[in-house]
């Protein structure tokens, strides 16, 4: 699949949150304000891109040549956990202001299904190295798009008269449903 189409598909047509249901926890938890949503989204995109690179290397240089495919799940999750630790330490040293903005979200990212999902899906779809990187960036940006849109809506929703039982997670999921429906309109864009 050509790279631009791949990118557009990852952001819109097969959006990680609204199509693959990945990253729901942060999607519901961190989408109350637009700035925190943007920070979370960028942190996720950053980790996703690095994960894409590292997981591809591990898969194609170690696991597949030595017929260790069955260790894929263990290998990927350990890689992600360590990566997040390293990224956190790195950002804290290099740029304290960046750490202030993104840092607290990073530990949450380890159990974010979106990152593991990326490693698994990229491996499943058998992408080349360049395709995997583009896919990582695109999926992260798609996640960011969904979470920022959700935050924008929720900021407005705070002022609305939501029935009590639906306040919080309930109405957020219903809004997500309507967003998912809207995003279905993007299907058919891929040629």
């Amino acid at each position: 699949m050509d790279l631009l189409m791949l990118f557009i598909t990852a952001v819109f047509v097969q959006n990680y949150v609204l199509y693959y249901f990945l990253g729901i926890c942060p999607f519901l938890g961190v989408s109350k304000k637009i700035d925190s949503a943007v920070s979370m989204g960028l942190a996720v995109t950053f980790v996703m891109t690095i994960t894409a690179v590292v997981s591809w290397i591990i898969n194609h240089w170690i696991l597949i040549p030595y017929r260790l495919d069955y260790l894929q799940i263990v290998a990927f999750i350990l890689v992600i956990a360590s990566l997040v630790q390293l990224v956190e330490m790195f950002i804290r040293k290099i740029s304290p202001p960046l750490y202030q903005a993104l840092g607290i979200y990073l530990p949450l990212i380890t159990t974010n299904c979106a990152i593991m999902g990326l490693a698994l899906l990229a491996a499943l779809k058998n992408f080349s190295f360049i395709q995997t990187v583009i896919y990582g960036v695109g999926s992260g940006l798609g996640f960011t798009l969904a979470i920022v849109l959700m935050a924008g809506i929720r900021e407005q929703l705070d002022l609305a008269d939501v029935p009590k039982p639906l306040k919080g997670a309930g109405i957020a999921l219903i809004v997500a449903g309507i967003m998912a429906l809207a995003f279905t309109g993007f299907s058919g864009m891929i040629t």
């Binding site: 249901f21 926890c25 069955y70 894929q72 159990t111 593991m116 639906l166 109405i171 999921l173 998912a180």
Partner: protein, 204 residues
């Protein structure tokens, strides 16, 4: 704090601390694989297998693990059982394995499982951890069952593949789509809260 009776330890997973409806954990698979009842059940059983055995192992070795590496250890334990479940399904139930796709490996990042190790198995006896895991698993399967029944019934008119609603029923395709999953879960959460309030109100 008084220790719960064993039956209370089990039952809390079904409602009071239901991992999906009350703790809002593990929602990724609940939304993803509930387009058909058989898929929901398969996912529930796979995740339960991982939860129960991980809890057993973690609770057995909890004294041996230094605090700093506990999360990494839990992750390796969980990932091992997830791989077992994934391989087993691919070998013996290929069509279901295909239908569930990447969501079986994704059990490894299911917050319910890691959460239970951190919150319970690492601090309780093997016996109690087993009961806790069984309760949480039952609660999880229940949530999957409810959601997938609604989605399959309204979205295709079938249950477990058998036509239940006659030809007069025009399926609500939206139920099979991602949008339907979100909407159904949102409404169910609202209903859960209403039930919670009504029952609390009665006992107060």
């Amino acid at each position: 704090m008084p220790t719960k009776s064993l039956s209370a330890e089990y039952l809390k997973g079904l409602w009071d601390e239901n991992p999906v409806f009350r703790q809002l954990l593990g929602m990724c698979p609940v939304l993803a694989v509930t387009n058909a009842v058989i898929n929901g059940i398969a996912m529930g059983l796979a995740a339960s297998f991982v939860l129960i055995f991980s809890s057993l192992v973690v609770s057995s070795i909890k004294k041996l693990i230094p605090n700093q590496v506990r999360i990494a250890t839990y992750i390796v334990v969980i990932a091992t059982f997830v791989t077992m479940a994934d391989r087993f399904m691919a070998a013996f139930f290929p069509p279901i394995s295909k239908a569930l796709g990447p969501y079986v490996p994704l059990i490894v990042v299911n917050c319910i499982i890691l959460g239970r190790q951190e919150a319970f198995s690492s601090r309780n006896s093997v016996g109690r951890s087993l009961i806790d895991a069984l309760g949480m698993s039952t609660g999880f399967i229940l949530a999957l069952l409810i959601l997938s029944s609604i989605r399959e019934l309204l979205g295709a008119g079938t249950f477990l593949g058998y036509q239940v609603l006659g030809p007069w029923f025009k399926p609500w395709i939206i139920m099979i789509l991602p949008a339907g999953a979100f909407l159904t879960l949102g409404i169910l959460l609202g209903i859960a809260l209403v039930i919670e309030q009504k029952t609390k109100g009665r006992t107060v």
